[in-house]
């Protein structure tokens, strides 16, 4: 039972995520001046949906805030408020609060009450509502008797309008029973309303007040059968309710049909006999134009002795007596109290977190494509079987079939990847907020433009992109974009521009972050790097190498450590994260014009193009992406350095020579015992530094499926994963940059020294 609810709660949070994205999209469209009805409706609906769902789970903080937000958006929808940039900004801020409240409900950090209040006040100001920020809720949303419901269905408030249960009324002190006469117009039946429902509603009211109702059907207006018109209303009823029932409850029952029936309510003083037409109005009441006849669906059976009391044991225990509920509300300050939602946040939700993204939504046609391919696979398999049974063995035919099977496999692989693919939009849109917040902390004005949000990548990548991008964009705002004064002085617009774009390039995804700021100040970078001991004071570096220094651990050029970045961990972490994804980062920067970061990432983390090589007799895989070129060994080009390490000169460029087998601790080569048969792989790491790996042979180039070695064994330096080859053997996938770094680290600890060593 509660398992079901957990599922639904998961769906809710997932949906919140989608709605927030929808909201973000709508609001950025609005800020671009696109204020079409559809956009505004979509924005409104997003908040509305979050509110609706949240209310169902008793997530009070969320509901309250969403309500205020919704009200202001309603102002927009109705045209009372124009979407000026300021107002859109307020909405964006509110969206951030809303999204944090959703996170809070999911067991995330508690949202600062001050922030909520501030945003709420701004929202209310938009539609010129109570500046006091006091109880915003009217009769709707958070109804007075709304009690925070633990994640379970039970007694959330409901209000069935044409038959209010009336348990929310005070006990009527009068001892006189209540007499209700009720005569529907024909129009009521035309509309599909049923008199029976109303009678049941009254019975419910009676039950709610601890009594029963007595119903008498007034049939006097019925004409002779021959004269009866089946669709007309001829009947009226007289219902006696317990004295405790307040008149309001009765009105509530008839609220829905008040315009299509006559209702009178009188207190029968108990002294006057409640006989027949006691109420004078009752006579006037059935003055309906037409003479009565029972309408088909109306209970014609004359005196309906309504004791539906027993017949309809509707389990409506007076859920929360109003007085108590009011008290609860009174104790709740207008500001959302963390305590109110605490049980939900702390209890059920925390454990749920890890599962949160466990489902994906896939375009149906992609699944269909996959299905088609699987169908073809089945056919291909059948064909192979039939060839196998042939007398002559069908060698040629078999080879042909296997070749087509290979294509098919590749297609299926692509199709499966397409299923896992997701547009980067969700992450990109989150960056809007990152930039917004960075702007408000640094008092800069920056516009983030997104491009290529529809570019698709494997979903695991999409998720893992979030952190590095966040760091990079904060950095771009904090360090990249200059202050408004500096920009004006440099003849630029005071508003900074950052472009975040994504696109596919040769089987990889390329993400670019381009700012129009001051560019990297290389002199300062160099000075800092020397001061921090990252490089030797006399090192000679190219511009590119200097740019790359900002990725070095412990590097920070910010004059003061700002709130946002400047702790000198950011870019280092970014680089590690990108490398961890099998990606590369490159920087280009023009002083005074800005900096561009390019991230190149594989489309998937599941498969890679590998070069199958042999080292110490074992077949291993080197990702093709890290191999620049391959060549035979030429002893003339190999030089030994004084410390015993070898370097190889390839077309005039020297690079460290690393015998793979010994580097992996597999023996094979002593000191420089190279064989003529050996092959050199020139590999390149992310910063463009090259090294030469010596391997015994190159076997093949193939797509390999990545299997985590960490999960099955443990992490090993120099090995990124494992795979299973066509012959069924297990093979290691090498982590080339790590291998090279290890090898060089053994030669010497500091890259600058390697460089000077090489130069010598």
């Amino acid at each position: 039972m509660s398992g079901d609810m957990d599922d639904i709660l998961l769906v809710f949070f997932q949906e919140c995520e989608e709605q927030l994205q929808e909201l973000e999209r709508g609001l950025s469209a609005l800020s671009d001046g696109e204020s079409g009805k559809e956009t505004i409706n979509a924005v409104f609906r997003a908040v509305h949906s979050v509110k609706g769902g949240a209310a169902s789970f008793g997530l009070e903080n969320l509901v309250r805030f969403a309500h205020v937000f919704e009200s202001s958006l309603d102002g927009l929808r109705s045209g009372r408020v124009a979407p000026t940039p300021e107002i859109v900004k307020t909405f964006l801020k509110a969206m951030d609060v809303l999204s944090d409240l959703v996170a809070e409900a999911q067991g995330g950090a508690t949202v600062d009450t001050g922030r909520i209040e501030e945003s709420r006040a701004e929202l209310q100001a938009i539609i010129g509502e109570g500046s006091g920020g006091a109880q915003p809720q009217q009769d709707d949303t958070v109804p007075a008797d709304f009690t925070p419901v633990p994640v379970d269905f039970e007694p959330v408030m409901a209000d069935f309008d044409f038959g209010d249960f009336g348990f929310d009324e005070e006990e009527a002190p009068a001892a006189a029973s209540l007499v209700v006469t009720f005569s529907p117009h024909t129009a009521m039946y035309d509309r599909g309303d049923d008199a029976r429902n109303l009678l049941i509603g009254l019975a419910d009211v009676a039950v709610a007040h601890g009594g029963t109702s007595t119903v008498t059907c007034e049939t006097a207006a019925l004409p002779a059968l021959a004269a009866m018109e089946t669709e007309k209303s001829y009947l009226s009823w007289r219902v006696v309710l317990p004295a405790a029932v307040p008149e309001e409850s009765v009105h509530a029952v008839f609220d829905w049909v008040s315009d299509v029936c006559d209702v009178t309510i009188t207190r029968d003083g108990g002294s006057g006999p409640s006989g027949g037409e006691s109420a004078p109005e009752a006579a006037a009441a059935p003055a309906t134009p037409e003479p009565p006849v029972p309408e088909p669906s109306a209970p014609v059976a004359a005196p309906l002795e309504a004791t539906p009391v027993a017949a309809s044991p509707e389990p409506q225990k007076p859920a929360a007596p109003p007085s108590i509920a009011d008290k609860i509300m009174a104790e709740l300050p207008p500001a959302p109290t963390p305590a109110a939602t605490a049980p939900i946040a702390a209890g059920n939700t925390t454990a749920r977190r890890p599962v949160e993204q466990a489902t994906i939504r896939v375009d149906l046609h992609r699944v269909d494509d996959l299905m088609d391919l699987v169908g073809e696979l089945v056919i291909a398999q059948a064909a192979l079987e039939s060839i196998g049974q042939r007398e002559d063995g069908g060698q040629q035919e078999m080879i042909k079939r296997i070749a087509s099977m290979k294509t098919l496999t590749r297609d299926i692989q692509d199709a499966v990847m397409a299923v896992r693919a997701q547009p980067v939009r969700s992450v990109f849109q989150r960056m809007q907020r990152v930039v917004r917040e960075a702007c408000s902390m640094t008092s800069k004005d920056v516009v983030l433009t997104l491009e290529g949000e529809d570019t698709e990548v494997d979903r695991t990548l999409v998720e893992k992109l979030s952190d590095p991008l966040t760091h990079m964009l904060r950095n771009a705002v904090d360090h990249g974009i200059e202050s408004a004064e500096a920009r004006i002085a440099a003849g630029k617009s005071p508003t900074g521009q950052i472009l975040l774009s994504a696109g596919h390039r040769s089987g990889r995804i390329l993400i670019t972050i381009k700012d129009d700021g001051g560019g990297i100040n290389r002199e300062r970078v160099l000075a800092t790097a020397i001061k921090r001991g990252i490089i030797a004071p006399d090192a000679v570096l190219t511009d590119d190498e200097i740019n790359n220094l900002i990725f070095a651990p412990g590097f920070s050029t910010a004059a003061t450590v700002s709130d946002l970045s400047g702790r000198g961990v950011g870019m280092d972490v970014v680089k590690q994260a990108i490398l961890g994804l099998g990606g590369r980062v490159t920087i280009s920067s023009v002083e005074g014009q800005g900096t561009t970061f390019c991230l190149s990432l594989p489309l998937t983390l599941a498969v890679l193009d590998g070069m199958l090589i042999v080292a110490a007799g074992s077949t291993m895989v080197v990702p093709v992406s890290s191999v620049v070129e391959t060549m035979m060994v030429n002893h003339k080009d190999i030089y030994m350095l004084p410390d015993g390490a070898n370097v190889v000169s390839i077309r005039g460029a020297c690079m460290p020579l690393i015998p793979l087998a010994s580097e992996l601790g597999l023996g094979g080569y002593g000191s420089g015992g190279l064989s003529e048969e050996d092959v050199i792989l020139v590999v390149e790491n992310e910063s463009g530094a090259r090294a030469a790996l010596i391997v015994e042979d190159i076997r093949d180039q193939a797509q390999v499926v990545i299997k985590s070695i960490e999960k099955n064994y443990r992490q090993m330096s120099g090995v990124s994963a494992a795979t299973i080859l066509g012959d069924g053997s297990v093979s290691l996938i090498l982590d080339v940059p790590a291998l090279v770094a290890n090898a060089l680290g053994r030669i010497d600890t500091r890259p600058s020294d390697v460089r000077t060593g090489l130069a010598a």
Binding site: I8, N41, S56, T141, A158, F160, W256, D259, S297, P315
Partner: protein
């Protein structure tokens, strides 16, 4: 297993959360539930439904075709003239209520709903 009551309810709501809750609540009470994600889909599901549902629960605020339009469209079809249609919404604006009434809604429940009141409501309109 919940005992079936032989009553089929169509729920129309664009929120999957709400649809999930409705399904759970209604199926838990033995109803047969069919669902549509907005007015357009609701209409399609309704017309394709066999057997025809005994009642409809619809949201108001939905993309493509909202609840009012949906009710109106259903009512325009002769065979559904008397099909009970309950509005389930977070709103309680009297004007909207009046509009719902005018287009032919049978009842109005304010979200969040309790299973009990929802079932009671359906029981009333389908009794």
């Amino acid at each position: 297993m919940v005992e079936k009551v032989g009553i089929r309810v169509l729920t129309v709501d664009d929120s999957r959360t709400m649809q999930g809750m409705l399904r759970k609540a209604l199926e838990g009470a033995g109803y047969d539930v069919i669902q549509g994600g907005d007015g357009v889909e609701g209409l399609e599901v309704l017309q394709a439904a066999d057997p025809v549902p005994n009642a409809i629960i619809t949201d108001i605020n939905m993309p493509r075709m909202d609840g009012f339009e949906f009710i109106e469209a259903v009512r325009a079809l002769e065979q559904y003239k008397h099909l009970p249609m309950i509005v389930l919404t977070t709103e309680s604006d009297p004007e909207k209520k009046a509009r719902a009434r005018a287009v032919g809604a049978t009842g109005w429940i304010v979200k969040p709903f309790s299973t009990d009141s929802l079932v009671a409501a359906i029981r009333r309109v389908t009794a």
